[in-house]
Symmetry: C2
Subunit: 351 residues, 2 copies
DNA sequence: GTGAAAGCGCTAACAT
DNA sequence: ATGTTAGCGCTTTCAC
């Protein structure tokens, strides 16, 4: 007794394949295949018979088999570092919408900021032969890791962050510009000692946003004080601890630009621990504008990064790239928009 | 010229398969296959030669082909309604960890609360023949939709919510009990007019939490007032609008149990719009204890649902189920834990 | 310890 | 309009 027969016996019926339908209808598997895919070449009457029987028998299309033949899987791999950060959850959700609309499905891999795990996860994703991949690499990722994917001839679109030195489609925000806008906003309110909280040079977003910060200092002829530029991962803890150490400075700043909203939330919490309030006592600007940002108290002034457009855009770019692997590489930078809310105000001293 | 030759020419090298390696080494594909999988039956020297060449040629295992042969895909489908809700993002993240540890990969599908889209998405996931599926169905899902998956002989574990009338493994929180605990907490603080904000009878969590609320009323001999039990989806807007209408009541409540944390956040925002503060002026209890909850101001009193354990637990249950399809069905209820923070306090009148 | 051969379920040429 | 045939890349008997 073969495995197959066992399964059939056990469950009371044979696994239904094209062959089963073809046999019962006394047609060929080719006809059944074409009929199910609504090929114009098959007679309507035949299509009807095929489909009716397929439904009756509970036929389920086997994509592994089709993929083997067509070298198309209809899967889009998504490699993200963290989906617990609402910014990336929002991006993923937008991607999911676009991908589903295109009749494809997401194969998900995450790896935090661990390069070693990223390597394993991306290597594994590759084996499923997704039609393409949307990548948001861990900080510090080197070009050669991404080359492994490219070598497998899997089209890749980089999202939000881009790995240095690889020539691939990219969609993200114009982070440097966004941060500069935020800096100008704080300066216009009267702030002169402004900190930069979080981010690091291991990601392109970190580099760009930090560059936007130093560009702001330069534009207004303010001195660069290394004590005001605190490196850190995009977590709430970075903001919480960072704001504490800023406040403990002999000459503390009056405002902080945060690498992202989570850090800003952490910073606002830190202020409260010190009996201070964001806005009135210390200005905080976030970055991303996750849904939560508008609901904080005070609501967070932040840089809206259009995650919906960005996620959908990444999916669309990828689908185009799959269709035309030789088209010129594109870099799309979405213009961020500063959203002024309650967490920024003139400095106490200036009031 | 075949497609294959075109691809080979275009990219400068042929797609490397087991056959290519076998030919070059003058062994059979069987040997190569066994060698790469580290079979004890292959000579060490051969293994070394195979692996070295495989690496040199950039061989990538083709899981579609293997799946066709073995009827195993090593994919775990995850069907969620919403990954933008941090509660589900946290669950997904925990699942991802466990699944990756087991050498499997997530195939993701989401569908909001649309039954029609859920049907399409689940139908599509099924065609990929995942080894199993973790399901958190949309509200109002009928048993027959789930039967489609079961009929395809795909093991399913239900997570957090369970569809009425289906006999499948389930892991979730003991919601009724958790809500009752929260009710007791409010009662102990002196609240007597307590509202229930959000949830609906279309999901098991809605039913259980609302049942926990009415059980609380009964336990303390409080009257049921339909004006205090507001149905709604688990969004911030539900809390925002809900608290407004509660406050507009001729005899408003002094506290509200919320179906989840997002609703609680919305409710706290609504209080601020009315110049009131959670805790001091009106008590709010959430449910889930998402990371954000501890950071709000005031920090949210809520029911911790152990999303990490729950997510990992779902993955573990599923893997066991895949290993033994005939084992008895399990229902695991995790005991929720009330976390008291600043958003609850004695009612104004009682002070 | 290794090889030959069959076949998983599907699609695509080509033939009729 | 439908059938025949070959084969995608892998795993798995079964021989040797």
């Amino acid at each position: 007794m073969t495995d197959r027969e066992v399964a059939a016996t056990g469950a009371g019926q044979a696994r239904v394949t094209l062959q089963v339908i073809a046999d019962r209808l006394d047609v060929s598997t080719a006809t059944v295949s074409l009929a199910l895919r609504d090929s114009p070449v098959v007679a309507d009457a035949t299509k009807l018979r095929v489909r009716t029987l397929a439904r009756e028998l509970g036929y389920i299309y086997n994509r592994s088999a089709a993929s083997l033949r067509t070298a198309r899987t209809n899967m889009i791999a998504v490699g993200f570092h963290d989906i617990t950060n609402p910014y990336f959850a929002e991006l993923l959700s937008a991607i999911e919408d676009a991908v589903t609309d295109a009749g494809k499905t997401i194969l998900l891999g995450t790896y935090g900021e661990s390069l070693e795990r990223q390597d394993r996860v991306l290597g594994s994703l590759r084996e499923y032969r997704p039609d393409g991949m949307i990548l948001c690499a861990a900080g510090g990722t080197q070009a050669d890791i991404v080359e492994h994917i490219v070598a497998a001839r899997i089209p890749v679109v980089q999202l939000s962050r881009e790995v240095a030195g690889v020539d691939l489609d990219f969609i993200g925000a114009d982070d440097g510009h966004g941060t500069l806008r935020a800096f100008e906003h704080l300066h216009a309110l009267g702030h002169r000692r402004i900190a930069m909280l979080g981010g690091a040079d291991t990601t392109s977003t970190g580099r760009s946003r930090r560059a936007g910060y130093t560009a702001g200092l330069e534009r207004f002829g303010l001195p660069f004080d290394p004590a005001l530029m605190l490196e850190g991962l995009g977590h709430r803890e970075t903001g919480l601890r960072g704001i504490m150490s800023l406040l403990d400075l002999p000459d503390p700043p009056t405002a902080a630009l945060c690498f992202n909203d989570l850090i800003a939330f952490g910073a606002m919490l830190g202020l409260r621990h010190r009996g201070l309030e964001a806005g009135a006592d210390f200005s905080i600007v976030g970055c991303d504008d996750v849904q939560e940002a508008a609901l904080w108290y005070p609501a967070l002034t932040t840089i809206h990064n259009r995650q919906d457009e960005m996620g959908r855009g990444a999916a669309d770019m990828l689908i185009q790239r799959i269709g035309d692997p030789l088209a010129p590489v594109r870099r799309v930078l979405l213009e961020p928009r500063l959203v002024v809310r309650g967490s920024t105000a003139p400095p106490r001293s200036a009031v």
